[in-house]
């Protein structure tokens, strides 16, 4: 089976009337497998939205190509199997239920199927009570729910979501997280661009980090968060003062060492009469990894874990 999404050396340059060129993507390659929740991160202006819009056929790459669900980018019939939510969702001012029927019908749904899907999606996103209200009168959070509803109405195989929870309250975010995990359990693929790193950390199987139009890191979320150069050693039966910046709790002493100093630290514990309880790689937060890779001078080359 073909991957859900494939970018092959995609470059996108914007040209002004004066002939000035601004690069948004630079030889960007990425493969998203089916059935995974994939996190797509990067600072503002990194090229995330450009990449998503190219995949949706809203833009054409300057160079390179790509495929979505096995078809080239821009293949309209394939989009009937895809759900897309743009950043800062904008919808026509119509009652939510009618709006969903409109978008569902554009994706080829008709008759009872369309009505059933609209009802299901409205229930899932807790919009049933406001289904007859005009979305022009909705709050930003409610509007975002309707935006998600229109992305889900065709029961898509692939969901491309650009900042889907940015306007939602904590309860709304939990609900969306549940929806995405449910989608995954039903074999759907989710491609999620977000600045809410804690959410990405919670639900994504793999993560890619984009900076200045280039992929700087891609890997499984758990692996990405593990530091390969720092280790945490937990020992018992030693004096906490023996190791700098150690923490002591209930007879256990924890301290961090560079990976290269692991053997020396363990031998020192033994020489002090102590016992090693465990040695683990230090787990970073996704925020730390993100800042490390996209901060000043960070992440100029492509890396793979």
């Amino acid at each position: 089976m073909s991957p859900a999404l494939e970018f092959e050396q995609v470059t996108k340059e914007y040209r002004s009337w004066r002939g000035q060129t601004v690069g948004a993507l630079d030889g960007f390659s990425l493969t998203v497998e089916r059935g995974e929740i994939f996190g797509f991160l990067g600072p503002n202006g990194a090229g995330k939205t450009t990449a998503i819009h190219i995949a949706m056929g809203l833009m054409r790459p300057t160079r390179g190509a790509g495929r979505m669900l096995g078809e080239h980018f821009g293949h309209a019939p394939t989009r009937a199997r895809v759900g897309f939510l743009a950043e800062n969702v904008a919808l026509y001012h119509r009652p939510a239920a009618r709006l969903l029927r409109f978008y569902g019908a554009l994706n080829g749904l008709r008759g009872p199927d369309l009505r059933r899907r609209c009802r299901e999606v409205l229930e899932t996103l807790e919009l049933t009570e406001v289904a007859q209200r005009n979305v022009g009168k909705f709050s930003r959070g409610m509007l975002q729910r309707v935006g998600l509803a229109q992305a889900l109405v065709n029961d898509p195989e692939l969901l491309l979501l650009d900042e889907p929870t940015s306007a939602l309250d904590p309860l709304g975010r939990v609900a969306v997280r549940e929806i995405l995990l449910q989608a995954k359990s039903r074999g759907k693929t989710v491609f999620l661009s977000s600045h809410l790193l804690s959410e990405i950390e919670l639900i994504c199987d793999r993560v890619a980090i984009l900076n200045r139009g280039r992929l700087v890191r891609i890997g499984r979320t758990a692996e990405l968060l593990e530091s390969r150069d720092r280790l945490e050693v937990v020992a018992r039966g030693i004096d906490p003062a023996a190791f700098a910046a150690s923490l002591s709790d209930d007879g256990l002493v924890a301290f961090r060492v560079a990976a290269s100093g692991q053997r020396e630290a363990i031998e020192r514990v033994w020489s002090l009469g102590g016992e090693i309880v465990r040695v683990n790689p230090v787990r970073k937060s996704l925020e730390e990894v993100f800042v490390e890779l996209t901060g000043n001078g960070g992440g100029d080359g492509e890396g793979r874990l």
Binding site: H53, N88, A90
Partner: protein, 234 residues
């Protein structure tokens, strides 16, 4: 075909108040001419028709000039084009939607004109002239929509005006038949010179206009399919 109709209906819905206003204007204008008159003279009916015909063509140009621009500016185009909708269908929907506004306006003109001409017995001729007006409006919309696929509303309107005006210069320089190259003006002139007694429909211009609407739609689709849908970041 269904996406085309959905997009057209949606456009018409977005412009519903303008459409209602135009229809009321057409009816109101007829009432001004006709109320209190036992029999409205044919000249007055024609004057009413010609005045309204000019508005119909103008409105179709202005609606077409801002159709794509507004969709992009409001970012609503993203949700529509992210569905299984071809760009050519999207444009066909917009063109049909744009046209439906002057079409309803023309229908209101025809109905109001029918009421005005009820004693003159020239209803058939009046409807024929309204039909020619509607075709001119459709062609004007198609020309303008073509330019909006790569120009902003102001430049597109200017370019469309120049393109629709060029046949006038060609006609004067090279001969009468050149007026039918892009016959918006030619159709409008045939309405403005018509009388209700003897209406000679400009069949060559009508056939050319119908064909050009299709050609312009195809050209617009090709151009638009190569354009990036860039939208302003809020």
């Amino acid at each position: 075909m269904i996406p085309v109709l959905l997009i057209a209906a949606n456009f018409l819905r977005e412009q519903r108040w303008l459409t209602v206003l135009l229809a009321l204007y057409a009816v109101g204008g007829a009432l001004l001419f006709g109320l209190g008159e036992a029999k409205v003279p044919s000249e007055d009916v024609l004057f009413y028709l010609k005045q309204q015909a000019a508005y119909a063509i103008l409105f179709s140009v202005f609606l077409a000039a801002s159709a794509i621009h507004n969709e992009r500016k409001t970012r609503r185009i993203l949700a529509v084009l992210s569905k299984a909708v071809e760009r050519r269908d999207y444009l066909a929907g917009l063109l049909l939607g744009v046209m439906s506004v002057p079409a309803i306006y023309c229908l209101a003109i025809a109905l109001a004109g029918t009421w005005l001409a009820r004693h003159s017995g020239a209803v058939k001729e009046l409807w024929a002239l309204v039909g020619v007006t509607a075709l001119a409006a459709l062609l004007a919309a198609a020309v303008t929509l073509f330019f909006t696929t790569f120009l902003g509303p102001l430049f597109a309107t200017t370019a469309a005006a120049l393109a629709m005006g060029a046949p006038i210069a060609l006609e004067r320089a090279l001969g009468h038949s050149w007026g039918n190259v892009l016959p918006v003006y030619s159709l409008a002139v045939s309405v403005s010179r018509a009388t209700l007694a003897a209406t000679n429909l400009p069949w060559p211009a009508i056939v050319i206009a119908a064909g050009e609407v299709i050609l312009l739609w195809l050209a617009s689709a090709v151009t638009f399919s190569r354009r990036d849908i860039t939208v302003a970041v809020e």
